[in-house]
Point group: D2
Chain length 397, copies 4
């Protein structure tokens, strides 16, 4: 067995144990196609490293042959401590997980401003992480990895932020800034990608190798899962669903271009259209517009309907390109309900290529900020896990 | 080494030998990470099966140790015979390849009608395949696999055609119809996917794991290569670039919907707009419109410019979703030159998310029908190769 | 009574007699506000000139005072002979009227080509006019004035054609060319204006001082009647309804610009969209599309619906500008029925400024080519009448 | 001479004297075509009524025959007192004119609210009119007629307001409400019509019988002058230029419909688009956007450019319908300069029907609120003048 093969074996077995949660050693060979001998060797290594542990079998039976209690293998929660966070408009949500993925603590804190310098943001996050750890009677230094979701255009593998509405600067090596401030490995990604990660790890995407997550918050985001992996594009500029164009020279978008889907479907698109109806009374919130539409106000209904039609068109383009098995519409707030409406989904179905086979399933998943943070933690967990295996390989070599 | 591992090993090594074209056995271990012993075992099997062969090393040197001439391993061309074909509007192009991928013969023949019943189309293809084989002094029965590219919506893994402009029926298990008529394994796919396959196998996509191919023929197609694989979507309805919507309730498309990119950028979109300018003189061809535009005719120029702007918008949406490293614009005819024009590409660049990093590379690849057929053959070759390995596994087991 | 006043008096009285058809001299003073003495003087002049005549009163009563039969005044039909013609795509329709407006003869003849030089067109019309006169046992030289309706942009007062689809040349002083070829006064106008003239003289516009006529033939035209006069604009380029823009950079129009109403609602707009559906079977006619739409063909229905929506938008713009009492939709062919449909008119009503008062009345008037020719004759009659009065003034002076 | 003729004669002569400002009695016969005897009779009547007066001739010469100083006739300023007012968003501007049209006083006052009940608005105007009169040492009761311009949809002949942004109620017989509150004749019209009246009476429209005025304030309005008369449409809903549609289902307008020109070109359309660029800093004013655009801000430039393109399209539609000799773009504020820009006018020229003759002249007239009020006064003057003649007729009869 080459070095290469052993590494692949470790990754495969650790992954399988995580997937199975609890699994008898004897089943792993069949589940993975790795020979029993190799399974024995590798699981011994993983036990020695403390990444997994033996527990009494669920079934409580004794091994008929050897007479001692059957054991299952499982991930050892105490092996590593993982943190995840999501920067929202003016708040940060954080969670602390153990290596098994169990939530140990969570924390929410306000930002004094929606836009900070990278250094200030890093300092603020360091404090928050300290507070988070304290809630589980830990210290920040105990954390093995920190996953962070941030709005904007992020080159995740490089930890590089091309642009984020939360940062004063463009083109920031924000991963490095954070690692320096926090003193621990940081795994940074676009927030929509981390929702996809969350859906895949513990949400509606479990058991699906290929699916699309569309997030609706103040903007419109997308996470693409292909072959069990987040698809990010070459420069980290993929999945920019909100900036796909639905109208040549259409409405003005925050990005400065015209005709972006966001400019029709995002929060600001609705409040902007509603401005004229509100007269001197100031800006109306999306909730107000939705309520007015439901109560029969024609102008509000027109605003909501149009956002829905454009959103349906954007979704249809995604289906026409990906033909996914599953689309998850994920949003934290009730205020996006108009985009989840059945007539919007039906509108999408009319705009996709028509074949005599059911269109992709579309499911709606409304959740809170904490789930975004858990997605960030899941991303960190994946990377911390990988790093642990790389360390083992180096130790062995 | 488990059965599973042995199969993976065979696939890996056969693939590596194909990629390297000629390679000393000794290099394979390093190239693949498979142990020398395993390499020796597996290559012996492949030699025995006749899938690869030994040839004198290019360098003509002798093995310093053993004193006998150094040998390279290579794919054995005679191992299998592969055919590929592409159904165009009223012609079929075919190529015959050996197992190394060398072209042994090609053939082009007319269809008496642009639309045939599945059975008639299969019968016609059977005759053409016979003629093709004859050109290389072979018979149809010698062919190990037949790849076919057809326009329309194809569920490739199932060999199922949801709809094709070349067939009278919808929802045809056309792969089965063909296999029955031809008496050999058939591998069917959407034609644009096979262009992507061709680009990946022996075109501009070589060495790229992720890229997008946009084909411009009478319609507008797309092939998506992600992680070295063609991405097809769940139902075979992915990559329908021509039917992504660029205008809500816009121009009427052949598909019956409105606002599809095709309805602005395809051949028929141009001739349709030009109709009014031609008066009673009948329909003008795309070539005529392009020439007139170049010669300063304002109406023609307006037609061409608009097609280009909409195409740029469609391309920008693809970039905003995939952020690919490379986009290949592939078309067989000079008549699509207006969509390849620099100002169209520049238009796309203005509509994508702006970051301080170079936009995706866009290259233009003009080629003939034969290359589409070669893409189909490449797809068949991949499958025939896989089948050969499966047979080995069964023989061994 | 000044010269000026006498001329105004003659015009007023001749007009009133025409309007009343038959009227006792004694009523004219009350109807016009002109003193009895002046009425007596002027009617005597008109009788002497042969423009009017006395006829026995309808009521057949005798004048109680003077004991002689009561007489009415009426226009003298034999006073002048008037011809009118309308050039359609490949035919010309002509009518011959007497000075009372009674139709003496009509004639239809084919053109050998849809587009002729001004001189050839004039020669052809001279022959046709000869044939028309012959049908009433007259000669062309007996005709006092010839009214002609032609598609295109016509500066009517100058007899100047900026452009017409029926003529090879632009910028033709076509009135002069015709007068030379015909040897008689010619009164030229845009055909839609002459439909307005016809509606006002003997159609649905009788009794309305202000209304709009929209003509739907191969193109879309408009005639505007304000204060009982055709409104033509400064250069003869007014009322170009078909070229009002309904979409910035929209569909290509025959005029070379984009987004004109015609490019969505005219015959060619429908056949153009339908082209894609017809495949190789060649162009479908509008009638075919309308029938298919009625029979449930979705694509045809989509074509028809869109034309109607755009037409409704164009109509709404006219209402928003003119707020007319009455809109007459005038077309000769059944093939425009989709634009007259109730849902189109309803669509218009939704797009106009909403006040708590009934929207303008919209009536549909389907008629034949002859009515267009009668409109041309009515225009000529008005001018011949005016010329007769001018001659009288000169004779007197 | 009938009663009717005498009334026409009075109207003609009073109008001619007003037009000539000063004119010898002897010239009036030639100028109007009315006999010398009648001129003598009628001018004597007008002098007796005090509507005109004799003044020494400009030339100061003596009548050669009679030996007494030559006299001119002129309007007698003291004959009537006229007031005009324009209700702007939160201010009212008023002017006081004498019967010659000379401005005696002006006044501006704030409204406590932009929207008032008809009764409150009438009460406020009564006070303001008192203040205005006081500035000329007069009292409100001395005023012979009050002209008022108000934004919205006004049926001027009926003094009926379908809707106005300045009034709380729809469908108000506002003319009656005002007459009751003010105790004097009130002449009410849409404000844009009164700008047209002002242009015709003492602005750039003098000497033009047919022209279009486009007003740009917070909304977009239009006044149509045809044959020296304001054209208002049947229900007072004509000339609603701001609500002509430039895009089917386009941007939302204040009127609740979509695609109105106003929704792209009015003040609120610009500030609405700019909202997204301003982030949390609140709404930007039009002036700020224009300045930023000039200083190179791309997003602001995009906003301004789009408003200009849509405005050009709207203007082109007006030209295609009216083909006017002259278009006057009239706005009070510098903030509309982007819509007056040469490239907007040039854009319009490209969208109109192309003939080989110069397009309509477009002139820009920037003026203050007072000029709107003067337009209102001019409208009142016209009506007061007419009423004076009617009184004369009754006195005589």
């Amino acid at each position: 067995m080459s070095v290469n093969q052993r590494e692949i074996g470790r990754r495969t077995l650790l992954g399988e144990i995580r997937r199975q949660q609890r699994v008898p050693r004897i089943d792993l060979s069949e589940l993975t196609g790795i020979s029993r001998a190799t399974v024995t060797t590798i699981t011994a290594e993983l036990l020695r490293e403390g990444l997994i542990e033996e527990v009494a079998s669920d079934q409580g039976e004794k091994d008929s042959k050897r007479g001692r209690p059957k054991v299952d293998l499982k991930i050892r929660g105490a092996a590593r401590l993982i943190a995840g966070a999501k920067i929202s408009h003016k708040t940060v949500s954080l969670v602390l997980l153990d290596f098994e993925g169990r939530q140990l603590a969570h924390h929410e804190a306000d930002l004094e401003s929606g836009v900070l310098s990278p250094e200030d943001m890093a300092a603020v996050l360091a404090d928050m992480l300290e507070d988070l750890a304290a809630k589980a009677s830990m210290r920040r230094a105990d954390v093995a990895g920190f996953g962070l979701g941030i709005a904007g255009i992020v080159d995740a593998p490089r930890g590089f932020v091309h642009w984020s509405p939360s940062l004063t600067n463009r083109n920031v090596q924000f991963g490095d800034v954070l690692e320096q401030a926090l003193g621990l490995p940081v795994f940074l990604d676009n927030d929509a990608n981390l929702v996809a990660m969350a859906e895949k790890s513990f949400g509606l995407g479990q058991g699906h190798s290929d699916f699309i997550v569309v997030t609706i918050e103040s903007g419109v985001g997308m996470g693409i899962v292909i072959n069990n992996e987040i698809y990010r594009g070459t420069r980290g500029c993929g999945a920019e669903f909100g900036h796909t164009k639905v109208h040549l020279e259409g409405a003005l978008c925050r990005c400065g271009q015209r005709g972006c889907l966001e400019a029709y479907a995002a929060d600001y698109a609705l409040t902007r259209e509603a401005m004229i109806a509100s007269g001197e009374a100031g800006e109306r919130r999306v909730e107000d517009i939705l309520r007015a539409a439901k109560e029969g106000d024609e102008m509000s209904a027109s605003i909501v309907k149009r956002a829905g039609r454009m959103f349906a068109m954007g979704l249809a383009n995604i289906v026409n390109i990906f033909d996914p098995e599953l689309i998850i519409l994920a949003g934290e707030q009730m205020q996006s309900s108009h985009l989840y409406a059945e007539d919007v989904i039906e509108g999408m179905r009319k705009l996709i290529v028509q074949v005599d086979k059911a269109p992709p399933e579309v499911v709606v998943h409304k959740w809170g900020n904490l789930m975004w943070a858990r997605g960030a933690a899941a991303y960190a967990l994946e990377n911390v896990s990988e790093n642990a295996l790389l360390e083992m390989a180096e130790n062995v070599a």
